[in-house]
Amino acid sequence: MAEPLLEVKNLKVQFPTEDGVVKAVDGTSFSVAPGETLGVVGESFLTVMGLVTKREARISGEILFRGQDLLKLPPEDFREIRGAKISMIFQDPLTALNPVHRVGNQIAEVFQVHRKVSKKEAFDEAINLLQLVGIPEPAKRARRYPHEFSGGMRQRAMIAMALALSPDLIIADEPTTALDVTVQAQILDLIDQMKKEFDAAVILITHDLGVVAEHCDDIMVMYAGRMVEYGEARDIYYGAHHPYTWGLLQSIARMDQARTERLRPIKGQPPSLIHVPPGCPFNPRCPYVMDICRTEVPQLIPADGHHASACHLPLSEKERIVKEEVLVH
């Protein structure tokens, strides 16, 4: 495998609150290779960048970007990386764009912040980018305000902004959740296409496993701030090894099935991040729970290649269940 672009080691993110310490990320390690798309699915994941801008968070571990630990970087150096080398696409483009500035100016801003360019040059670049992401009449649209765009167009504009300085890594935080179903596929295709064109890696955070399967190389499944499964998209989609992932698979409408007779949502409450149950965090909701699950925390153990899962069930049992119970509805 190529030298990783981003390497996260034993990351912990905690928020001290009145009710107790919220363990949003609890010791997670993963890496992203250049040009790779990593899907992050599940409950509770704080985006790498978002968390660094959240000052009230207690963060430990390492976030190595091209070997440099972002958490130890002087604020000014880290600021230069944000927007230029690592950029972000937000969930709701309406609130992520400033309502009082023209869309073109907001894209142009990225150039003005990181490069010594005139306002005019920056604005022209912004128009080019709008054209690139498929916005008709870009010169006219660039002079419009965010609320004058449709949801899909706004997300295209956000993508244009994220691409402005051809970053190495784009973090897309649920980029389609706020959009119409019909527009969602277009936006994901656009991200794919742009990622190839700009040779960037993408971290795609989503709640929808069906979405990531098509657009990601690897998938990481998070539960209660911990990684419970990791593997190639294909392995996760057709041969998941963790009961929580099975739950996710069963609760989506699968593309490869003509009828979606039974959508089975996962039973029980989403996990509290303050009082995580002892042993396996998923044990209160798991249909396969065993005694050991209530006392011992399962470690993330590789099965084959880099497919790994954190669950006490024996591998043979997992393979049997996924074949006999999960993939056949």
């Binding site: 960048m49 978002g50 801008t53 600021r79 230069e80 990386i81 944000r82 927007g83 230029a84 950029s87 972000m88 937000f90 709701d92 609130t95 992520a96 764009l97 400033n98 309502p99 009082v100 500035h101 801003e109 990225v110 912040v113 990181h114 305000y145 609320h147 004058e148 902004m161």
Partner: protein, 131 residues
């Protein structure tokens, strides 16, 4: 003279907005975030609250001076002029009417100015005007 607390409250709530996080994610400096992203969003409410304050101050002054508790004559103020007119109200009642009317117009103008400025500062309002 906007209430400092209003401005502080505005900044604190705007600071939490997603577009501020988005600007930070784009590498914008703190200075840029304050002056380019937060301030223009706060301007509308600041202007509106200022103009309301100005209007209220004019009315308060008029009332106080009319009762003799306000700015002391001979300093000319709306209230003093009104009080002035009152002493002559039996022979020239229009002095009070016109001066009162002038105060009313002034206060209305200040309010209209505030409305106008707010519309000019808020792109949402512009769209409505155009269509």
């Amino acid at each position: 003279m906007p209430d400092a607390r209003i401005v502080r409250g505005l900044f604190l709530s705007l600071k939490e907005k997603e577009f501020v996080e988005s600007a930070r994610a784009s590498g914008a400096s703190n200075k840029r975030i304050i002056f380019y992203h937060i301030l223009p969003n706060a301007l509308g409410p600041i202007v509106v609250s200022s103009t309301l304050n100005v209007a209220a101050a004019i009315l308060t002054e008029s009332a106080l001076s009319f009762l003799g508790f306000g700015v002391q004559p001979p300093t000319p103020t709306w209230g003093n002029l009104l009080e002035d007119g009152r002493t002559a109200s039996l022979i020239a009642p229009w002095l009070v009417w016109f001066r009162g009317l002038a105060i009313l117009i002034t206060v209305l103008c200040v309010n209209f100015l505030g409305d106008g400025l707010r519309d000019a500062l808020d792109p949402h309002q512009k769209l409505v005007g155009k269509e």
